[in-house]
Symmetry: C2
Subunit: 193 residues, 2 copies
């Protein structure tokens, strides 16, 4: 999606090799108009997926997930990054490793909000190693729910998450797929060679 690629080139901050920060418009400060355009794109790309629910993980996926759910007219749900008393006694859980922070956390989702009737569109801001999506697909498996599709704003295509999900048979759509980040230069998969 050219709109997002252009914005990443304009406002993203490349750090060393392999890291681009987009926290001025996507995941700390958020440009709501841009996010709504990304949501519209997800809604269009997954219009035939038959999704009954949008699922994301706190915190940075929530904004684009709720905007997507609004356009698709289905509920949104977010997995929590810890098991707290407020979630009740019945929940799905999966362990997720954060490569950014080098920590593990147990994500949790109340059983009340996902079941075997659901077709789930997974939405997140980033897809890199694929750990968050691995956790979310595990929650869907526990619920017996079908993954109707996976939409991510930015895919770091040089990391294995997207490949793993596609090999698993998932329909993955990334709005900006980064082929490489090298010496300050971002190359998108859509760039001419």
């Amino acid at each position: 999606m050219k709109l997002l690629e252009d914005r990443i080139r304009k406002d993203g901050t490349v750090i060393g090799t392999g890291i681009v920060k987009v926290d001025s418009f996507l995941n700390h400060q958020m440009d709501p108009v841009l996010l709504d355009q990304l949501a519209a794109e997800f809604a269009e790309r997954f219009q035939d997926a038959g999704a009954t629910k949008v699922l994301t993980i706190e915190a940075s996926g929530i904004a684009v997930a709720v905007l997507t759910a609004l356009r698709m007219n289905v509920p949104a749900v977010y997995a929590k990054k810890s098991v707290s008393a407020t979630i009740g006694k019945e929940y799905y859980t999966a362990r997720v490793h954060s490569f950014t922070h080098d920590t593990d956390c147990d994500i949790a989702l109340s059983k009340a909000y996902l079941n075997a009737e659901d077709r789930v569109l997974l939405i997140d801001d980033f897809l890199a190693e694929g750990e968050a999506m691995r956790g979310l697909t595990a929650l869907c498996e526990q619920a017996g729910a079908e993954v109707a599709g996976i939409g991510v704003c930015v895919e770091k295509a040089f990391q294995p998450g997207g490949k793993w999900l596609r090999e698993k048979g998932c329909h993955v759509e990334s709005l900006a797929a980064i082929a490489s980040i090298d010496h300050g230069v971002i190359t998108f998969c859509s760039d001419p060679e």
Copy 2:
């Protein structure tokens, strides 16, 4: 706001005395159509506040904050619930106590996204003891930014947060103000006596 009060009566779950769970539509599973209506109400109530930014705290405030920011055509920012490497070296921080979990956390906001020119609309899902708002107003003070208003979806008016903020001179708008939760019965401040 009758729409939200009716929804709380219909789908809220009262637990003992003083607690109502609204996680089927507001802060775990989210009804995006409802949230967008709440956002529209915030945008109307604060249309003359001159807000340049919407500020919330992860995770449960993000959805309604971004929808409000979209309607007000300003950026949204969320304070993070921990200080991580990704936030950079320059950030505002404040300690916030969670009565729900009986823990303290240091919230953090990059200095890049709040400054003395900003007029800030603070948005959150709940206002009870006022700890989260205390933290967010502290971040604004550190930035030299003015608090243009405070909008919360649900205020537990029998807890001291709202009173403290109003005495401080803040313009606080709550869309559903709960006077009491007693023996399974929710009474709103707007109910006839």
